[in-house]
């Protein structure tokens, strides 16, 4: 991947919290229309990296750029207006507002009138198949619907990039399969560059063309799913051992593939 193409990228990014190195010299690119994966054990710095890419965390050293434009120090809301959207691990819906207003808020934030924003919200809800939830108060939604609304909120006005922070956490296999379909459509039909952060390795291996593995703030491996699957460094990071043990999700995945 060369710089200057249609991609969102972090280049040599380091972030420190009170002497603790959260990220050191991380380089990662998310191309348009593709699904890129980011995996790593807990505390590896995945969420910090998302925060850096979406303007919630100032960059220590290094640069963040959006299709060639350097974005260091830009505020989160301005990044969203430039087309970099995200979801949150904890959902963070506007719990007191109905679902349609949750989406509408993004439209308004992007500069639309309320009428335009409602029209756009209805279009997105139809596209995602959640129109029936429109007038439900967001705080009353079941978990999986909450996730879909959060994604709907993020794809309002079709962003250029979408960063999903553990969208499948707590989902059943069936539900994460539905999620996979949605993520594929977002990249394929809308041409959005997706960065998928997940603990569900099976989902990441199934969806992503290219996977970055983060451990202790450093990228320890980059490559296609097959390469990640066979990587000793990755297995070691996850298991904390050198034992030749196959991660269950991988076994299932390989079984399905063969």
């Amino acid at each position: 991947m060369t710089s200057g193409g249609l991609e969102l990228g972090a280049r040599d990014v380091s972030v420190q919290f009170e002497g603790l190195k959260a990220l050191s010299k991380v380089t990662l690119t998310v191309p348009r229309g593709r699904i890129t994966g980011l995996i790593g054990p807990n505390g590896a710095g995945k969420t910090t990296l998302i925060n850096v890419l979406t303007g919630f965390q100032p960059v220590g050293t290094g640069t963040v750029d959006l299709e060639g434009e350097v974005l260091n120090g830009i505020a989160a809301h301005k990044l969203r207006r430039k087309g970099v959207a995200r979801t949150f691990q904890s959902g963070r819906l506007f719990r007191d507002l109905p679902v349609v207003d949750n989406l509408e808020v993004t439209g308004v934030g992007m500069g639309q009138t309320r009428r335009e924003a409602i029209t756009e919200a209805e279009r997105v809800m139809t596209w995602l198949g959640i129109s029936h939830l429109g007038s439900t108060i967001a705080g009353a939604l079941p978990y999986t619907d909450e996730r879909r609304v959060a994604i709907g909120r993020a794809i309002m006005c079709t962003p250029r990039y979408l960063l999903l922070d553990e969208p499948a956490a707590g989902m059943s296999e069936h539900e994460s399969h539905d999620l996979a379909v949605i993520i594929r459509r977002i990249a394929g039909e809308l041409g959005v560059g997706v960065l998928l952060i997940e603990h569900n390795i099976g989902l990441v291996l199934e969806l992503c063309e290219r996977i970055f593995v983060l451990d202790s703030g450093e990228i320890i491996e980059v490559g296609a799913p097959a390469q990640i699957r066979d990587s000793d460094a990755v297995r070691h990071a996850y298991m904390g051992t050198q034992r030749d043990e196959v991660i269950p999700a991988l076994a299932a995945e390989m079984g399905a593939a063969s």
Partner: protein, 357 residues
């Protein structure tokens, strides 16, 4: 999917109901009330303006402000400067610039100017204060109250210092009071359904997610701050015309806390709550004021000791908030059929939320 009715059509009943109810109150007071009672009614309408103004900022942003009464002070003194006859001003307010010293404007002109003055001031100080969040923002607004009060208490040649400035034409009556309250309600309603109002309520619920939705929190807060300052500035102007004197003590802690408790008792996240809170507390104050004066039971005259009013209001406030922590309206708006129904609806919603947490 059926077409959603427009935002205005869904919600416009709330301001209409509020304004009509207040009109009925004004008419009854005008028709049957004594002169003293009418003055109480005017005071209530002015308080409605102040609390509705507070609601615009506090209700939509979720930040508690202790500084909004300084906008009332600004509006009242601006009206004093504009409306007192030049002959009187040249004696008491020698420090005013010549052009101001020689103007005398009628209430209809002085009042909006006073509102704009308060709004401009809010625009300047708000650019700094709105960057803060949570308790820091509230304390900063408290600082603002202190600064404004001190300036107006001590700048003798312009404000008359601690003493009162007299001579503002006493042109207020119940109808103008009602009109002022109606204007405040309409402005607050239009703000609440505006883009900025929706965006600000989103930041109130989840500020991080609001940023991720493209919302500039500082900007939206500043807009609400300026709009609320305008409403409260107008209220201050009408208050000056009502009392015909102004002094800085009237715009300090007591007024700050009584208006805030009116807002909280009514339900601080709803416009209906702001109005309900003022009406309720005003009625209670009037009731206890009369009890303190004494009522005749046959030959016997029973009177409560002085000061019971404040104590009773305090206790009643505590009891109301114990049983209805989100205020009398439970933060809902009055609407055609919605209110009682929404209340029934909100319980399962609340339980569902608890289960999810």
């Amino acid at each position: 999917m059926s077409k959603r009715p427009s935002v205005i059509r869904q919600t416009m009943l709330t301001p209409i109901v509020l304004i009509v109810v207040l009109l009925v109150m004004a008419a009854l007071s005008y028709q049957f009330g004594t002169r003293a009672f009418n003055r109480t009614a005017v005071e209530m309408f002015i308080n409605i303006m102040v609390v509705v103004g507070l609601y615009v900022f506090v209700g939509n942003s979720g930040l508690l402000s202790f500084g909004h009464i300084s906008f009332m002070c600004l509006g009242a003194y601006m009206t004093a400067w504009l409306a007192i006859p030049p002959v009187m001003k040249s004696i008491t307010l020698k420090g005013l610039p010549a052009w101001l010293l020689h103007t005398q404007l009628p209430m209809w002109v002085a009042t909006p100017i006073s509102g704009v003055f308060a709004a401009l001031f809010a625009l300047i100080v708000g650019r700094v204060i709105m960057r803060l969040s949570g308790i820091a923002a509230s304390i900063a607004t408290f600082g603002l109250l202190g600064v404004v009060n001190n300036v107006y208490s001590n700048w003798d040649s312009v404000t008359g210092g601690q003493g009162s400035i007299v001579g503002i034409p006493p042109t207020m009556n119940v109808w103008i009071g009602w009109l002022g309250a109606a204007v405040a309600i309409v402005i607050a309603y239009l703000y609440a359904i505006s883009r900025s109002g929706l965006a600000l309520r989103a930041t109130r619920d989840e500020s991080v997610a609001a940023s991720a939705s493209g919302i500039d929190i500082v900007r939206e807060r500043l807009i609400a701050f300026v709009v609320s300052a305008f409403i409260i500035g107008i209220a201050g102007a009408l208050y000056a015309h009502f009392l015909s004197i102004v002094n800085p003590g009237a715009f300090y802690l007591r007024t700050t806390f009584i208006t805030l408790s009116m807002l909280v008792v009514g339900g601080m996240y709803s416009l209906s709550g702001a109005v309900t809170g003022v009406v309720t507390i005003s009625v209670l104050i009037e009731l206890f004021r009369n009890l303190e004066k004494g009522i005749s039971l046959g030959a016997l005259k029973v009177a409560l000791p002085n000061g019971v009013q404040e104590i009773a209001i305090g206790i009643i406030t505590i009891v109301i908030l114990m049983y209805l922590p989100t205020g009398l309206t439970r933060n809902q708006e009055f609407s055609w059929r919605g209110w009682p129904m929404l209340r029934r609806l909100s319980r399962p919603v609340r339980t569902a939320m608890k289960e999810l947490n």
